[in-house]
């Protein structure tokens, strides 16, 4: 499979996926790997071969990377080993957040069944790797400043049940949504400029995380549920605001 993919990439991708836009894309990498004090990531543009390497501490994200549009190949090393390299397309003018998550001590090699599920299921099967270290890209492009702000939550907290997020704003308490492990809620839109987030296990009244949140107009916020410690859920918040490419 790996060799076939390599042949495919070499033969087809450069022609099909040629990028014509010059505007850079913006990427942040988020380290949510449980049990790894830091991770090392190398990303290489598949057409030009240009590479970058960076280290990211646990429950942290790197500075925003300005990248030339291309298909990039990512190699991630964590305390428990190296995960199978993977690729993502990075298009001009888009903002992205790439979360690396999972349990550092889990076995890295996906089973044949997991590979088959991934092939047949596509992006809809998120938890196919169990708690193995895996990755998920999210679009983070901010909206126009006069548009409502959006808030989402992704659940990468190893071992927790589905999590439910609510937001308190000036006009009451609103559900953001429920996300099982590896999944994310849909966006909650609001014109309020600030709010307070509460996260609970789905179906429970026990608040495991609570944090205030500024919501600039048009901002795009993703809250990553990173893991439990001392009965509290760790949240890593990525917020992008500013003019969208279409402005």
């Amino acid at each position: 499979m790996g060799r076939l993919r390599l042949v495919f990439c070499a033969l087809c991708l450069p022609a099909l996926l040629g990028a014509s836009g010059n505007e850079p894309a913006h990427l942040r990498l988020i380290n949510l790997v449980d049990g790894s004090p830091h991770i090392s990531v190398e990303l290489c543009a598949e057409t030009s071969g240009d590479c970058r390497s960076l280290d990211i501490d646990a429950d942290d994200m790197c500075d925003t990377l300005d990248l030339a549009p291309a298909v990039y190949r990512f190699t991630v090393t964590h305390a428990g080993g190296k995960i199978e390299p993977f690729s993502y397309g990075i298009a001009p003018g888009h903002d992205y957040g790439l979360a690396i998550y999972g349990l550092s001590s889990a076995k890295d090699e996906p089973t044949f069944f997991a590979r088959a599920k991934r092939f047949l299921g596509g992006l809809e099967i998120r938890a196919v790797n169990g708690f193995r270290v895996s990755h998920r890209m999210t679009t983070m492009t901010p909206h126009k400043p006069d548009d409502p702000a959006t808030v989402r939550m992704a659940n990468f907290s190893v071992g927790t049940v589905a999590l439910e997020a609510e937001i308190k704003t000036g006009d009451g308490v609103h559900p953001v949504g429920v996300a099982s492990y590896g999944g994310a809620t849909g966006p909650f839109r609001t014109t309020d400029k600030s709010g307070s987030i509460e996260v609970k296990p789905d179906g429970s009244d026990l608040v495991v995380a609570e944090t205030p949140l500024a919501l600039p107009g048009g901002s795009n916020t993703m809250m990553y549920a990173a893991g439990m410690a001392d009965g509290q859920l760790r949240l890593v918040i990525d917020q992008r605001s500013g003019k969208s490419p279409s402005d």
Binding site: L17, A19, G89, P92, L120, G121, G122, L123, T138, T139
Partner: protein
């Protein structure tokens, strides 16, 4: 064809109804599903499914000409003296149409609610509203409004083509994999399996065969050319909308992907235009599918393949019980179902149906038999892939579909023997 003039359908109207029947709801919800599976090869998925659909349209049209009457697959099998198979397949088809209506109601709810920034409650309320509203319209005997449908279809196709051309004019290949992992070309087969339901609409015309003017001369070229046109529209929209929104956005917001693309292209005006197109297209598709399915149920009951309860007509001459039962079931499924499982379960039903029709064409036609043979082989491969995909991705809907199929093929004759029927099972 109630609610319409006495004149027969000319080739232009047949073409518009066939193209509109396919585009009516499928593309609005299929795009995100197919990109999540096939990534940059989504266009190839539409092409693969399209080849099966075009050949199936050709087989349907030629068989309709051979048997010379309305009824589609049910009539073909009856005329071959395969009444049991005809009965079982027709029950399966009614289930497929019910799923299809639910997909359209689901799409209607999401597209309209998105324009009004509505949440889950509004989506469900809109799905119920459109379901109940169109059941009511059908019960009043205005279920088939051919001229209105032609206008809606034309407007819908125009907006989709504008969106596609706009997107293609801003071509940037990397948008096809923006934020997603590139996949190998053979993932396109999985994508083709997942969205096959997008092409099912043309066969509704075979239920109106006796209303078509000069069908022996026009039906084959009109139906086939409409199917080919739709294949190109789907491919263009798949590429164009992805250019405008980016692949990851289409996947993340698959329920309203075309509205997002239109908004990115033309702001609020684009959103309004696409919402109107989606609302009218899905409503028209629900309406025509509900009308035709109820008529099919009545026709099948008349032949003793469904309980005679389905034959009841109200004072407007409408088969009211099938309209209410099918409409209510579809609305319920739209409220509780997830997009992918609804789309894929319906796809499997129509893949099986088209394969059966192509087998009939292969057996009954004296010339060009290799053409339906190609579609049979392709349908079989794509169908197997879809079963495997459902088994790992949505085992519960697959199990329900399998149980219903067993019920249809095994228990149906026993049920019909126990209830009052006219004509016998």
């Amino acid at each position: 064809m109630s609610g319409n003039s006495d004149s027969k359908l000319g080739p232009v109207r047949v073409w518009a109804l066939a193209a509109g029947g396919m585009v009516g709801g499928g593309i609005y919800i299929a795009l995100g599903v197919v990109i999540s599976v096939a990534a940059q090869w989504a266009w190839l998925s539409f092409a693969i499914s399209g080849v099966i659909a075009v050949i199936s349209a050709w087989s349907y049209a030629r068989l309709s000409n051979k048997y010379g009457k309305s009824g589609g697959a049910f009539e073909f099998l009856e005329d071959m003296d395969r009444r049991k198979l005809a009965g079982s397949l027709s029950w399966l088809l009614i289930m497929g149409y019910t799923l299809t209506i639910s997909v359209y109601a689901y799409a209607f709810g999401h597209y309209v609610a998105y324009a009004f920034a509505g949440g889950e409650w509004m989506i469900r309320a809109l799905a119920i509203l459109i379901g109940v509203g169109l059941i009511g319209l059908n019960l009043l005997g205005v279920g088939k409004m051919t001229s209105v449908e032609v206008v809606i279809v034309t407007g819908n196709l125009a907006i989709l083509v504008i969106l596609a051309v706009w997107g293609l004019s801003q071509w940037n290949g990397v948008e096809l994999v923006s934020g997603i992992e590139p996949r190998a070309p053979w993932a396109s087969i999985v994508g083709a399996a997942a969205i096959f339901v997008s092409y099912e609409g043309f066969q509704l015309l075979t239920y109106e065969y006796d209303q078509i003017a000069n069908p022996q001369k026009t039906f084959v070229p009109v139906l086939v050319s409409a199917a080919i046109f739709v294949v190109f529209v789907y491919i263009a929209v798949a590429l164009g909308a992805t250019m405008l929104a980016g692949a990851l956005t289409v996947v993340e917001q698959k329920e309203i992907a075309l509205s997002v693309a239109a908004r990115n292209a033309a702001g609020t005006a684009g959103l309004v235009g696409m919402t109107i197109a989606a609302a009218f297209a899905t409503a028209a598709a629900i309406n025509s599918t509900l009308y035709s399915t109820a008529k099919l149920a009545e026709r099948i009951a008349d032949d003793g393949m469904l309980p005679s309860w389905f034959e009841h007509e109200n004072r407007f001459g409408v088969p009211d019980r099938p309209v209410v039962l099918i409409g209510a079931m579809a609305t319920f499924l739209a409220i509780i179902g997830s997009l992918s499982s609804l789309v894929e379960a319906a796809s499997l039903v129509f893949l099986v149906t088209f394969m059966v029709v192509n087998i009939i064409a292969w057996r009954e036609m004296e010339t060009w038999r290799w053409i339906p043979a190609i579609a049979v082989v392709m349908s079989f491969v794509v169908g197997l892939v879809l079963v495997a995909r459902l088994a790992v991705n949505a085992p519960v809907p697959l199990a329900v579909l399998a149980a219903l199929s067993v019920f249809v093929f095994v228990a149906r004759p026993a049920i019909l023997a126990r209830v009052h029927t006219e004509g016998g099972a």
